[in-house]
Amino acid sequence: MSAVENKPLTKKDFESDQDVRWCPGCGDYAILSQVQKMMPVLGNTRENTVFVSGIGCSSRFPYYLNTYGFHTIHGRAPAFAIGIKAANPNLDVWIATGDGDALSIGGNHFIHLMRRNPNIKVLLFNNRIYGLTKGQYSPTSEHGKVTKSSPFGSIEEPFNPTSLALGANASFVARAVDRDTKHLSSVIEAAAKHKGTAFVEIYQNCIIFNDGAFTPYTEKETKLENCLYLEHGKPMVFGQNSDKGIKLDGTVPKVVSLTDGKNSLEDLIVHDQFSEDQTLANLITHLSDNKDFPVPVGVFRSISRPCYEDQLVEQMESAKALKGTGDLQKLFNQGDTWEVK
């Protein structure tokens, strides 16, 4: 029986006794710390929480949380997670995964998870590189990226993870940055409170193999220029002095100045994270594909759709209600039988 039973849980209660083994300075530390901090805030218990991961630096995550944890095989965390969730819908199931794990080898399970929409939270640590295998390009690495496996530059167009998730009908899509811990916490909180699969892309700095990939979005001097902080019901404003905004021209978004007298707040797109129609979320997600736009962070979309496990349970219950709890002997004897004497 755990001694802390009646005391409110703290961050410490969610720290396991294992040495954390990431490189010093790795962005994973900040994420771990935020998640450990948020667990008690969200009211999660240790015994009902399960962290599931694949393989990669980021996938070591579960070892460091004093909850149930399953470090599985490369790319398959969503498949294990859905089995766990379907087996016991009362559990809080979280997935920690990397850009390689979730989007390279695990891309299929990832998209199927999104469409099935079980109440599972997915934290994707996107460092745009394979960390654990020492620095090959990943499906989110920029075109032209020089790595060990692309000495002449990668010739692949990267995935935009949020766009892929939306394409697969994700009900909750968000983005945060490792070092912006307060914002990260708020996004994690929103994800946790969403009923359904919540996908959070977290830009994470790999100090060894892809250092500085996200500095524009983390440094004080530049982040307001480069990030669009999404807030539901608010116009899309950004810039050091909130002097720019995003406006719709037909179906095409445009960056406009709020200081040249041509446009005002009223002209801007107002963020609606609850819009049933996907057009807005898709528009947002593609902003980051284009260098002329800021990178949106925050909750892109959060709509309500039936959860996989709720429907499963409902089918089980209604089958029982309809047919009664199964009588095994009856089942055996079903169909034509005959007696031999």
Partner: protein, 610 residues
């Protein structure tokens, strides 16, 4: 006129036609009726991989072979006494199975020039004397069915769909089967389409009446009930038996079964069956692929359910990596492999028992697990039930091998009493005090199973080598040796829980036949013939492939020769030779078809003689 009835011990009948002709359906009806009247039966459905191959072609032939008799049968029969051929393609494909002087019933309506061409006949076999060694009964089945149904108001296309029941009527007359069971079935099945029910019943009765009226056949035959062990019986296919075995395991263990599966021939029906049983605490998940299927099942095991995944060869190939994780994390899991002919896609609808070596050795690194095999359609129930028992007792994945022949074939199943099924005990570790995830039961070496939701036993497991007892990640060399040994010993220990190995025949002698899986029936039949002839042949049929039974070494020593017949290119034999250093010989057939007992008997005699 009283019927001229001749009594026989056993009969094999085959219905063959186009895959659109409904041969599987009437075959099943004949089988069920025969079972219900008390015969023992064995069936062998054989159909094309295409859903509906082009009509009338050789590729499109679908056949259903039924063996019924007044004694304990074990096979669908080697050769047929009667063949119903609905078209030339069906005739051509199956004639080689008909005994000489066997009864051959053909639907003459389908022997037109175009039909003959599709079947690649140069001349009409009904006219060129090539069928002289059979008792040919040319019947215009299509025409007579139209005649019989002309008052139903159905269109010709719908009427023609009933001709299979007309032919069933003929066979019912010929073998003196009652019509009422089939009539009942048709009435229930088409309760919402009474017109269709009526049409099929008319056709059935029409076929029967045709024989009465025309005296087409001079004799009819009867097969008396078999002297089976008393009890309640039903006819069951291997796949249904597998599904029921899993439901039984759920009920008896008091834990939910979670099936993660991806459809694949010939395993899909297990998924279909189980997805009906939601009220029995069975959850089914049709995954996006086989990898997700097994991973979801392992996830469910982690969460305290009985994780199961069902598949066939190509699917098993995809599960390989995840099976390794289940071994490493020591979680219970049942993997059912309904083997089919390969390599690669191979012959999806044909049988083969060629995944044995894959099941035993097919994973990276040293990764032992128990492998067991079912020996007959109804035995799939026992095999999979036992697989669950082993999996939860030893905290290990277990591979349970069945095959396409067992999966689709049927036989009477003596329905067990639920309360007589062996209990399956599962005790989760709930006490946090002194809990470590890799602490073991000294008797079984199984680790403790503590599940999410239980406070105080929170732990993390994974595929990186784990420190013994604590389960923490460990790169230590000596620990890796310790864990490798423990994994090996744990699986070896499974054998100490086996029952004594049964020997059919004498305990000492000239020839020992060792077999496994779906060949049981034909080998047993061949054995019985040899024993009747007083030949020194004995037979051991293995349920347990890995680890092999401890008493097998002693048994083998008592025989001069060992023969291992397999429907593969020699697989169990490799394990036997390696383990016992005995110069076992193989007898192999890789044709996507079961052994006939005849070919086996000949081989046994050859070995004893030679």
């Amino acid at each position: 006129m009283s019927k001229n009835v001749q009594t026989l011990d056993e009969v094999t009948v085959m219905f063959a036609g186009d895959s659109g002709d409904g041969m599987q359906l009437v075959g099943t009806e004949m089988a069920n009726t025969s079972a219900i009247v008390g015969n023992d039966i064995g069936t062998f459905p054989d159909f094309p991989a295409e859903i509906r191959a082009p009509q009338g072609t050789l590729a499109g032939v679908s056949g259903y072979q039924l063996h019924f008799g007044n004694y304990d049968l074990h096979t669908p029969g080697d050769e047929c006494d009667t063949l119903v051929a609905m078209n030339p393609a069906a005739l051509k494909t199956n004639l080689k199975k008909l005994k000489s002087n066997g009864i051959l019933i053909v639907d003459t309506a389908n022997f037109q020039a175009r039909d003959l061409l599709l079947a690649k006949y140069a001349s009409n076999p009904l006219e060129d004397y090539s069928l002289e060694k059979y008792q040919l009964f040319p019947v215009n089945i299509t025409g007579l069915t139209r005649e019989a149904l002309k008052e139903t108001g159905l269109d010709t296309k719908s009427i023609d769909k009933c001709k299979n029941f007309f032919s069933l009527g003929i066979i019912f007359w010929l073998y003196n089967r009652p019509l009422n069971y089939t009539i009942n079935i048709l009435e229930t099945k088409f309760a919402k389409k009474p017109q269709i029910a009526k049409a099929n019943i008319l056709a059935l009765k029409g076929g029967y009446a045709y024989c009465e009226a025309t005296e087409a056949f001079r004799v009819s035959f009867d097969v008396k009930p078999a002297k089976l062990t008393p009890g309640t019986y039903r006819s069951i296919t291997g796949n249904t038996a597998t599904a029921l075995g899993l439901v039984a395991a759920a009920v008896k263990s008091g834990k939910e079964v979670f099936l993660g599966s991806y459809p694949i021939t010939p395993a899909s029906e297990i998924l279909h069956e189980l997805s009906k049983f939601k009220n029995y605490g069975v959850k089914t998940f049709q995954a996006e692929d086989e990898i997700a299927a097994i991973c979801s099942a392992i996830g469910a095991s982690f969460a305290g359910k009985i994780g199961v995944t069902t598949t066939s060869g190509p699917g098993l190939a995809l599960k390989t990596e995840a099976v390794g994780l289940a071994i490493a994390t020591e979680l219970p899991l049942v993997v059912v492999d309904v083997q089919r002919a390969g390599p690669s896609t191979g012959l999806p609808t044909k049988t083969e028992q060629s995944d044995l070596l894959f099941a035993v050795y097919g994973r990276n690194a040293d990764s032992p697990l128990p492998v067991i095999a079912a020996s007959s359609p109804s035995d799939c129930f026992n095999a999979v039930y036992e697989a669950v028992q082993i999996a939860v007792k030893f905290m290990t994945p277990v591979i349970c091998l069945t095959d396409g022949y067992l999966a689709n074939g049927s036989e009477p199943w003596k329905i067990p009493k639920v309360e007589e099924l062996k209990p399956i005990e599962i005790n989760f570790r709930t006490e946090p005090e002194g809990f470590f995830p890799y602490q073991r039961n000294p008797e079984t070496l199984a680790r403790d199973w503590a599940i999410p939701g239980n406070p105080g036993t929170e732990h993390r497991i994974g595929g990186i080598e784990r420190e013994n007892i604590t389960g923490n990640i460990s790169y230590d060399s000596d620990n890796h040796q310790v864990m490798t040994n423990l994994r090996f010993e744990k699986i070896e220990k499974v054998a100490s829980f086996y029952p004594k190995t049964e020997i059919f025949g004498k305990e000492k002698g000239e020839l020992l036949v060792i077999s496994w899986g779906g060949t049981y029936g034909s080998i047993h039949t061949a054995m019985e013939k040899c024993l009747k002839k007083g030949l020194s042949v004995s037979h051991v049929h293995l349920r347990y492939i890995n680890p092999l039974p401890n008493d097998l070494a002693g048994i083998i020593k008592n025989f001069r020769q060992v023969l291992v017949p397999e429907l593969n290119n020699g697989q169990l034999i490799k394990v036997i030779r390696d383990k016992y250093l005995v110069d076992a010989k193989g007898f192999n057939k890789v044709k996507g078809l079961p052994f006939t007992s005849g070919e086996l008997e000949a081989k046994f005699i050859e070995m004893i003689g030679g």
